[in-house]
């Protein structure tokens, strides 16, 4: 994959994660755990799940790979 492709893929992953965090899957997850959120005021590359502050790269959707 060329550099541009990787960038597009990365951007897509970030959009996906952001969407998850704000609504979509995030809402479903919250209904399960009540504990998923984007880090307040943080850059897009960290998420918080039940307090765990984790790099979002660990939560790439398999379909996104």
């Amino acid at each position: 994959m060329n550099t541009q492709g990787k960038a597009v893929k990365l951007a897509g992953r970030r959009r996906f994660l952001k969407a998850c965090g704000l609504a979509g899957i995030g809402a479903i997850v919250c209904s399960v755990t009540g504990a998923f959120r984007k880090v307040p005021g943080a850059e897009a590359d960290f998420i918080v799940i039940s307090g765990w502050v984790l790099p979002s790269r660990h939560f790439a959707h398999p379909a996104d790979d």
Partner: protein, 482 residues
């Protein structure tokens, strides 16, 4: 000479300096001024050892968050140095260059004004002269946090260390069980004319001196100023003035826990907000300390933590992984504590009750309040240090819900660092003492100790208290005529 005011009430007719309060600041001032040849009296309310009767005079009502005032001070010769832990961290230049958030001015003096007294303060606190303040760990990734640097005092117990000098220094009279109960101010001359003192049977006397220095701690310094009717009627202390206002603490918050990656060093790590961080986030300063719990040190890490890293790295489905993390309820390898700056805030204050103590002095009401800016500082430091910890490959942090969530309710505990109640400012509009520690609108009343801190930074106060006390000694020696 050390005299017991309970049985010996013979003061000199006139002292050059009357120092009230025998803690680190008071003892340093008294010994140094007497060493310069001045006639000095040091009045300590407690005795040579802890007694419940003396300690009870610290008892205050608390209407805000509990600052544990009585438990955190020691009311006998040596003051709170009798139980301090010994951590010494100096102020930074930026503590003096930048005003605190919230609209109040910061220090009216330059950092160099106290930095020049650092070597001598280190000597007093038995810190190695040839060693700079050290980090116990390596830096964390990024520019937001530095490895915190400090030195540990043995710790110095002032009454023990200076026992001989307090007994034998010529020109110095030390009175124990000698409680200040009033300050008599002459509004015509703008001078304090006497400090009224009492023994434990309410037998009173007066100390007459050319100059007076309050060195009783941030609660008591303010309390004595507020308690004096003559200071109020003389226009020195105003009902809506700053005496007692801006009571500050260092904020001790349980940020959460953390787990270490396999192979990471299990020593304690201490990180400190950099000036870059402060400029970027516009928060207060703070230390975050990562401490491994003893059980982990003894028995090694649990299998659950090892599994956590394994599962996090594996390529499972998004929802399953989130569910797994959300259910990972592990106490972790260690906990994260803090020492975070609180900004000065007028609503956080000492005031007086009508109820009096055993000696007839109005009791203090401590209303310790945390502002939204302070909460923002805590949350920002918590979130950012957690991110940098992960970035550095050390492991992961689990923040408490109160840190990452929207709640404004936080469990904040004090560090027994009382500051700010007689703050130093350039003009009386926002403070109590001027840049020479003199109470505004008086000619001979000074204040020493952390009550004069314009902002508290995130360093332990004892060493800066000494730096400022040494500076005050120099000023008083130079500007007092024989």
């Amino acid at each position: 000479m050390i005299k017991n005011y309970q049985s010996d009430k013979h003061f000199r007719a006139l002292y050059d300096f009357c120092v009230i309060g025998g803690g680190p600041a008071g003892i340093t001032l008294a010994l140094r001024l007497a060493g310069h040849g001045w006639r000095v009296v040091l009045a300590e309310g407690g005795g040579l050892e802890y007694t419940e009767r003396s300690q009870a005079l610290y008892r205050a009502k608390s209407t805000g968050r509990d600052a544990y005032v009585e438990a955190s001070r020691q009311r006998y010769l040596g003051g709170t140095s009798n139980h301090w832990a010994g951590r010494c961290r100096p102020f930074d230049p930026s503590d003096f260059a930048d005003p605190p958030r919230g609209g109040l001015p910061g220090w009216p003096i330059h950092f160099i004004e106290i930095d020049r007294y650092l070597p001598e303060a280190k000597r007093i606190l038995d810190l190695p002269q040839d060693s700079d303040f050290k980090a116990v760990n390596t830096a964390i990734q990024g520019e937001d946090f530095i490895a915190d640097r400090f030195l540990l005092s043995p710790p110095t117990r002032f009454a023990e260390k200076y026992a001989k000098e307090l007994r034998e220094t010529e020109g110095l009279d030390v009175f124990i069980n000698c409680n200040c109960v009033d300050l008599e101010f002459d509004s015509r001359t703008k001078r304090l004319s006497a400090a009224v003192v009492s023994d434990y049977d309410r037998r009173r006397g007066k100390i007459i001196a050319s100059n007076y220095i309050l060195a009783m701690g941030a609660v008591e310094n303010a309390r004595q100023l507020l308690n004096s009717n003559s200071l109020a009627s003389g226009g020195v202390i105003h009902k809506n003035g700053f005496a007692g206002c801006c009571f500050m603490e260092h904020l001790n918050v349980d940020l959460g826990s953390f787990i270490l990656k396999e192979g990471s060093d299990s020593s304690t790590r201490q990180y400190y907000t950099s000036d870059t961080f402060i400029r970027k986030h516009r928060t207060g300063k703070g230390n975050a300390t990562f401490s491994i719990v003893e059980q982990v040190k003894s028995y090694g890490r649990t299998a659950a933590i090892k599994d956590f890293f394994k599962n996090l790295a594996c390529n499972t489905g998004f929802a399953d992984k989130v569910k797994f993390v959300a259910r990972f309820d592990c106490p972790g390898d260690g906990d994260i504590g803090t020492l975070i700056e609180q900004f000065p805030n007028r609503a956080s204050r000492i005031s007086l009750l009508n109820e009096t103590d055993e000696l007839g002095v109005r009791k203090a009401n401590v209303h310790w309040e945390i502002s939204p800016e302070d909460i923002r500082t805590i949350k920002t430091i918590g979130i950012e240090v957690a991110k940098r910890f992960a970035d550095s490959g050390l492991g992961y942090v689990k923040l408490n819900e109160s840190i990452y969530g929207d709640s404004s309710t936080l469990a904040v505990h004090p560090h027994a660092h009382h500051m700010g109640t007689t703050r130093m400012t350039a003009t009386p509009t926002h403070g109590v003492v001027d840049e020479n520690c003199k109470v505004f609108n008086t000619d001979n009343l000074y204040v020493a100790g952390s009550s004069i801190f314009s902002r508290g930074g995130a360093c332990n106060p004892t060493m800066p208290i000494l730096q400022l006390a040494l500076r005050l000694v120099d000023y008083l020696h130079r500007h007092t005529s024989k």
